[in-house]
């Protein structure tokens, strides 16, 4: 990328929390996330006020569907309720289902690259525990083509990603049991990684390979085709904040050793799942546009998979992480099982995926997940990931998808 966009810092809330149960509203969520993000970035409200006088700062809010969960729209404007320092700061909401905060990141990065602003604040958030799981499942159906794929369907998304599992088995002629065991291993790795992450939703939960392969039982019922509950990420409440800045600001403040954005990819696949799968007929990849987004990011960064030390992917279901393995280029398409079985993607492996626990382990507040992954990459490449630090990580790559892998967003961040 031509102009460097630097990462001053960021933070996520504790994804174990249920804000409705705590009796707290979206303002409380935003206040805590912004306070923590600013603190980590060494950025202050006073500094924002100063920059805003010269129109050098802006805010970008990622959220999928607060209109349904808490009956609230016009979300970009709500930062003014967080602190009067946001008065007058340009802000708007960005949406692409579960990739919402990646669009917000993209907009922020682009504005800095274009020289429009020197500091951009990205806030991704979602409150989902305000409704029961049946209603929540129906709301999430709006990330698909609701009228054709969501309406009246009980838990539409597990079913769509169950179909991705079917399509993967069929495309590569995989042995079903081997494939399902590999998916179970993906779940186990994510749960185990989450145990090291003090902000992960499932950090106290139990999962074992026996339980994850024990699908179709009371504790691990099938929820979408071949997939069991253990293959699913769980919705939760949460927010993640990223503070980005321009090279000009970096020099002005004498900031050193910051991580920066090395590349991105953004591709939109056919919305309807049937069309998406029909579209892959001429590709080796089950999700060709997901693969293309990764290739675009590599190209922009001038890097290859060999240069990437840590990955965060969108494991909304174990079947989507499976597809991401070849999309990243960690394995040849159809050879993902080997990478899983040989420990390549494990925490100690050569290409660790989701040291944070990912969506399955860390939790999936949909509008926050992209920003959360970005914060995790920043932590990894700056050595701030604590107990889930991947040793010596220099470059990190993330894949955030919206819908049934319809919107595909990839970012690569690293240090010089």
């Amino acid at each position: 990328m031509e102009k460097k966009v630097y990462i001053m810092g960021g933070a996520q809330t504790d994804f174990e929390r249920n804000w409705t149960k705590e009796g707290k509203n979206m303002i409380a969520l935003l206040k805590e996330a912004v306070e923590d993000g600013f603190k980590d970035a060494g950025f202050t409200m006073d500094e924002m006020v100063r920059l805003n006088k010269e129109n050098r700062v802006a805010a970008f809010v990622g959220n999928f569907i607060a209109e349904q969960y808490i009956s609230q729209g016009h979300l970009g404007a709500f930062l003014t309720e967080v602190n009067p320092a946001f008065y007058g700061v340009p802000s708007a909401r960005y949406e692409a289902a579960c990739a919402s905060s990646s669009v917000a990141l993209d907009a922020a990065i682009t504005k800095i690259e274009a020289g429009e602003y020197d500091v951009c604040i990205v806030v991704g958030w979602e409150i989902m525990k305000s409704v029961d799981s049946k209603k929540g499942g129906d709301i999430l159906g709006r990330a698909a083509y609701y009228e054709k794929e969501g309406k009246g369907v009980d838990l539409p998304f597990p079913k769509l990603f169950g179909r991705l599992a079917d399509a993967t088995i069929e495309k590569y002629g995989l042995d079903k049991d081997r494939y399902l065991n590999a998916l179970a291993k993906i779940s186990c790795i994510n749960y185990a990684n989450a145990k090291r992450n003090p902000l992960a939703q499932t950090r106290k939960w139990f999962m074992s390979y026996e339980e994850a392969t024990h699908r179709g039982t009371e504790s691990n019922p099938n929820v979408g085709g071949l997939l069991g509950v253990s293959d699913c990420s769980q919705v939760t409440d949460g927010a993640a904040v990223v503070v980005l800045c321009s090279e000009k600001y970096l020099k002005e403040k004498g900031l050193k050793d910051l991580a920066f954005v090395k590349g991105y990819g953004h591709r939109t696949a056919p919305l309807l799942f049937d069309k998406k799968i029909a579209d892959n007929a001429n590709s080796e990849y089950v999700l060709p546009w997901t693969r293309q987004a990764c290739l675009d990011a590599y190209k922009r960064a001038g890097l290859t998979v060999d240069d990437i030390d840590v990955f965060e992917t969108h494991d909304c279901f174990s079947s989507s992480e499976f597809a991401a393995i070849s999309a990243f280029g960690i394995a040849e398409p159809g050879k993902e099982c080997e990478a899983i079985e040989n420990g390549v993607i494990a925490f100690e492996g050569a290409k660790p995926i989701n040291p944070s626990g990912g969506l399955i382990g860390c939790g999936h507040p949909v509008g926050a997940s992209g920003a959360r992954m970005f914060v995790d990459l920043y932590k990894q490449v700056t050595g701030k990931a604590g107990r889930y630090q991947v040793k010596g990580a220099k470059n990190g790559m993330m894949l955030n998808i919206g819908g049934s892998a319809t919107t595909n967003y990839v970012f690569i961040v690293g240090k010089a």
Partner: protein, 435 residues
């Protein structure tokens, strides 16, 4: 490094026994002999056990047994965990039996919530006495990760270190090391607050008593459940056993706060033990149409009456601030509101901080342990985190000196007790709820 493959849980049909079996069988991936008086009860407990960790797959690890099989189970076990009723004579009998069969090198432990670990260690023959420890988990252990670990003077400290490592890294427990003193750490602090709340309910019986005090110590004061409701949930017999044990065997500056109020004894005598018997301090009535009605024991009248929904202005204001995430403003209301209720509430919180740190200093080995026990055993805002919430808006030492009674300020060196600036690893914002 200890990695027990086979474990015996004695008293496995109790709630705690079943839940602890699940922790060993799941995170520990051990084969667990679940021993109780009746094998059928053990079988039922195994099903409950798997449900408690939401994993049917672990039932393959759970083996139902009864006391006739105890010696064989113990002989083949790398770890034996006793989870029988909190009765010293019964525990002495059981540990004497376990001691007759325990392997050299195997670990034996009690889940006792506060009996003497040294006394129980003496049930073991000299050659295995060093293998005995106190391992006190909190219920439900899948949700509450606290585990108080206690050695006796006979303990093999290398084995103690390995056991700590196993509990921490394999079973994912938050291990709080405690000296062998009555009720250890968590219960000493927690039941001090709960019993004092019960005493206050008696003192303020003209204001409503139980529901009056619970209403001003609700979730907005840094906890999930008000303290008297918690006592009702724990069971009044258990509550009595714990506070009596502390009262009889300790003597610190809050000694008389462990005296069980008379009205609680009266309820116990009437077998009104709390939630588990359907009535106690509270009583939930369901009528034919399924409507629920919460009644509360009125100390003054000696009868159950409808719970009063108190609306104290200070509490309403605090909840409003907390709802918007304005924690500093909420604490300021608590400090500055001049009502009797705000004063009672504030002083409860301050006394809790002081006693938690005082206890950690005397019963623990590290002050930070006060945070671990209260956060992961009670889900109360732990003392150092609560100190942080206060010190953001006031001089906490001065506030304590101004607002606490002379008997506390004179008995405890406030400047010393809050002098150590320890950054809590817990976030106070999570605990102060807008409810």
């Amino acid at each position: 490094m200890i990695y027990p493959k086979t474990i015996t849980v004695v008293g496995a049909n109790g709630t705690m026994g079943a839940n602890v079996s699940a922790i060993f069988a799941s995170f520990g991936n051990a084969r667990v002999y679940m021993v109780s008086r009746d094998k059928e009860k053990s079988k039922k407990a195994a099903i409950k056990s798997a449900k408690s960790v939401k994993a049917d797959a672990i039932t393959a690890n759970l083996i139902a047994a009864d006391y006739s099989m105890l010696a064989d189970c113990v002989k083949s076990s790398d770890l034996v965990f006793e989870s029988a009723a909190e009765n010293l004579d019964l525990k002495i009998e059981l540990h004497t039996k376990i001691g007759q069969s325990l392997k050299k090198g195997a670990v034996a432990c009690t889940g006792s919530s506060g009996l003497s670990i040294t006394r129980l260690a003496e049930c073991y023959p000299e050659e295995t006495r060093s293998q005995f420890f106190g391992v006190h988990m909190f219920n439900p252990p899948y949700q509450l990760t606290l585990c108080e670990l206690t050695a006796s003077p006979y303990s093999d400290m290398a084995m103690y270190a390995e056991l700590k490592e196993y509990l921490t890294n394999t079973l994912f427990r938050t291990v709080a090391e405690s000296k062998d003193l009555p009720a250890f750490l968590g219960n000493r602090i927690g039941f001090y607050v709960m019993n004092e709340a019960l005493q206050y309910a008696e003192r303020y019986q003209d204001n409503g008593g139980i529901d009056y005090i619970d209403s001003l110590l609700g979730p907005f004061t840094g906890r999930t459940m008000p303290p008297i409701t918690t006592a009702d949930f724990v069971g009044l017999d258990v509550h009595k056993a714990i506070v009596d044990n502390i009262y009889e065997n300790t003597n610190d500056y809050v000694h008389n706060k462990f005296v069980l109020p008379e009205y609680v004894q009266k309820l116990i005598d009437q077998k009104k033990l709390g939630r588990k018997t359907g009535e106690g301090l509270y009583k939930l009535i369901k009528n034919d149409s399924g409507d629920k009605r919460m009644m509360v024991y009125d100390i003054k009248l000696g009868i159950y009456r409808d719970e009063i929904k108190y609306t104290f202005p200070f509490a309403l204001q605090m909840k409003q601030y907390l709802r918007d995430g304005d924690y500093d403003d909420a604490i300021r209301v608590l400090i500055n509101n001049k009502s009797q209720e705000a004063d009672i509430c504030l002083r409860f919180l301050l006394r809790y901080i002081v006693y938690a740190l005082y206890t950690a200093e005397h019963v623990g080995y590290d002050l930070r342990v006060a945070d671990d026990v209260m956060a992961t055993g009670f889900t109360w805002c732990p003392p150092f985190a609560m100190m942080e919430a206060f010190t953001r808006v006031c001089d906490l030492g001065q506030l304590m000196k101004d607002r606490l009674k002379p008997e506390i300020v004179n008995a405890v060196d406030i400047d010393h007790i809050i002098g150590e600036q320890i950054k809590s690893k817990y976030d106070y914002r999570i605990y102060f709820k807008a409810k």
